[in-house]
């Protein structure tokens, strides 16, 4: 079974995000493999361990995204593909999906695994667009994946429980953070990753033209922030204060 996992490099979620002068999210700080995609890599590795095959990581981003791919390779993935091109700076979801689709098509995978949404973009739009462009069914919000021959089955998280969703491969899956605890890369894994292949390609190699962006950013303002109210120590009267607020809000 051949599995492609899409992986994105994002600002480290453990550090606070900062903004550039033009209000875009700064990418100059520490960057890491998206924690959601790390779960995707882990799930792919578990499927490979159970069924055999190959795990290929595909990313679009600046050249240093190689570090994110390398992280996945040190966990145990087999090789990587990075699409890097100055023209792709600021690419929107559709352009990202078109670029990833072109690169993934060449791999002819049985499964494509994405995360439900990225840490920084959070549009959740790349996976469904990718599924459409690749002509694949989509099994989304998976908290469990089972492969049986050429059929795949996921438990799809919903607002009140889950659905069991089934399809034949090839198919695209998105995984939630709860699916699998990502493994730590072992020293041996880190050493081995150094010699694994990361193929770097540009837009021209894929025959994708940039097209028009879906939107133009006209301006950015500070959102209305809530003001802090009273902060009180619990000196025995706190419960009365809360009851008073509940009564004023007419919920009591």
């Amino acid at each position: 079974m051949k599995i492609v996992v899409t992986v994105k490099q994002v600002p480290d979620p453990n550090l606070n995000l900062t903004l550039e002068a033009d209000n875009s999210i700064s990418r100059e700080k520490e960057v890491v493999l998206d924690p959601g995609d790390e779960c995707g890599v882990e799930e792919a590795l578990q499927l490979k361990e159970a069924h055999g095959g190959e795990v290929v990581l595909v990313s679009m981003g600046p050249e240093r995204s190689k570090d994110a791919i390398r992280k996945g390779l040190s966990m145990g993935a087999d090789r990587g593909v990075l699409i890097s091109d100055p023209q792709l700076a600021g690419a929107d979801a559709l352009l990202t999906a078109r670029v990833l689709a072109a690169a993934i098509k060449a791999e002819e995978p049985d499964l494509v695994i994405c995360s439900t949404e990225s840490y920084d973009g959070s549009t959740g739009m790349v996976p469904p667009m990718l599924a459409e462009l690749l002509g694949l069914p989509q099994l989304t919000f998976a908290k469990k994946v089972e492969v049986n021959g050429s059929s795949v089955k996921v438990n799809r998280q919903t607002s009140d429980g889950y659905q069991v969703v089934e399809a034949s491969t090839p198919a695209l899956i998105t995984v939630t953070a709860g699916i699998a605890e990502p493994r730590y890369a072992s020293l041996k894994g880190i050493m081995a990753a150094r010699s694994k292949e990361i193929k770097q390609i540009g837009l021209g190699d894929l025959g994708v033209d940039k097209g028009q962006a879906a939107e133009t950013i006209e301006g950015v303002v500070d959102a209305e922030a809530r003001k802090a109210g009273a902060v009180i120590e619990d000196d025995g009267t706190a419960v009365d204060r809360i009851v008073q607020v509940l009564a004023e809000a007419k919920v009591l």
């Binding site: 959740g124 739009m125 667009m129 989509q138 953070a177 879906a214 006209e218 009180i232 809000a249």
Partner: protein, 320 residues
């Protein structure tokens, strides 16, 4: 008048509340046609009419209930060929967003995701999109026709405007090749008495509760107030409570009259899902926790002591 579509999401035959929220905005922006697919579509059409839809395109083929995204995408595509809408509004919910993504890719059009508002401007549409944890608001002008915008739940209030929609049968036969990702079973894990999204009071617990054994304490308070219990992602990921209770960026958005955050620090990804609440009360050991800076009332203290005392006081007040 602009020709505005609302993708009315049905969940097991029921119109979702977010679909009606979209109607409030849509009827302000133009003539509204809603599209309702799957079992319950005809029933939904009457409700959509009352909320301002002039036309509702319906099709009750079971394929729309059974298969993820693709049949609905086919239906919208075929209607799009005839009607050429100016704007299509979707809810930013799991089921709708997959249809929106596939449709935008098929149209080669792109879209604007995660918006909190849409306004008409210069013959086109501008969406307001919160980002950077909701502390910034970007104005994004849609460059395509149709403009496709996904709107976060709870961005608008649903309200009836009176009226009756013309119901039109949407003529589409779902191709076999679109019947692929099939829902074979539905399992409900949550059996809340009061729905989290609709509750007038929400009491959410976080890691500060110490463990799942302390969640019943919040249930007691919720029962006393007629509210619902929510949670932070930290405790959902830890397996203390099911995902259906998660509030925040990757969980539910709520805007109750009162939100009580118990042992929750107030990370941006949590507050983006609750900061539209009318009144916020925080109970936290740490006076410096970020939640204290946005709460109307912040109580610095131990939740284990305050919550039971509060529940008792609420019960006493109700009796007296």
């Amino acid at each position: 008048m602009a020709n505005v579509w609302v993708y009315a999401e049905l969940s097991q035959g029921q119109l979702t509340s977010t679909s009606l929220e979209l109607m409030t905005k849509a009827r302000e922006l133009g003539d509204v046609a809603a599209i309702a697919l799957g079992s319950g579509a005809k029933n939904a059409a009457a409700t959509l009419g009352k909320h301002g839809a002039k036309v509702v395109h319906v099709n009750e083929d079971a394929a729309f209930d059974e298969y993820i995204a693709e049949p609905a995408t086919d239906a919208l595509m075929s209607l799009h060929e005839k009607e050429k809408p100016d704007l299509i509004l979707f809810s930013f919910t799991p089921d709708s967003r997959e249809v929106a993504g596939r449709l935008a890719a098929r149209l080669g059009a792109g879209l604007i995701s995660n918006a909190s508002d849409v306004v008409a401007q210069g013959g086109g549409f501008v969406a307001k999109v919160p980002y950077f944890g909701g502390s910034k608001l970007a104005s994004m002008k849609a460059n395509n026709k149709p403009a496709i915008v996904l709107v976060r739940p709870k961005s608008f209030e649903a309200s009836e405007s009176g009226g009756t929609a013309e119901v039109k049968q949407l003529d589409v036969s779902v191709a076999d090749q679109s019947k692929r990702a099939r829902i074979t079973e539905r399992v409900a894990e949550a059996s809340e008495k009061v729905k989290l999204e609709e509750a007038k009071v929400v009491i959410s617990g976080g890691r500060g509760l110490g463990g799942p054994q302390n969640f019943p304490m919040l249930e007691d308070l919720a029962n006393a107030l007629g509210g619902a219990v929510g949670a932070s992602r930290a405790v959902v990921d830890a397996g203390w409570v099911p995902y259906s209770m998660q509030v925040g960026q990757t969980g539910k958005s709520v805007r109750p009259g009162v939100y009580i955050a118990v042992g929750i620090s107030g990370a941006m990804q949590h507050t983006v899902g609750m900061k539209a609440s009318k009144i916020i009360i925080a109970i936290n050991k740490d006076a410096e926790a970020p939640i204290m800076k946005m709460a109307d009332l912040g109580v610095v203290g131990d939740a284990m002591k305050i919550v039971p005392a509060l529940t008792a006081a609420v019960k006493a007040k109700k009796k007296g």
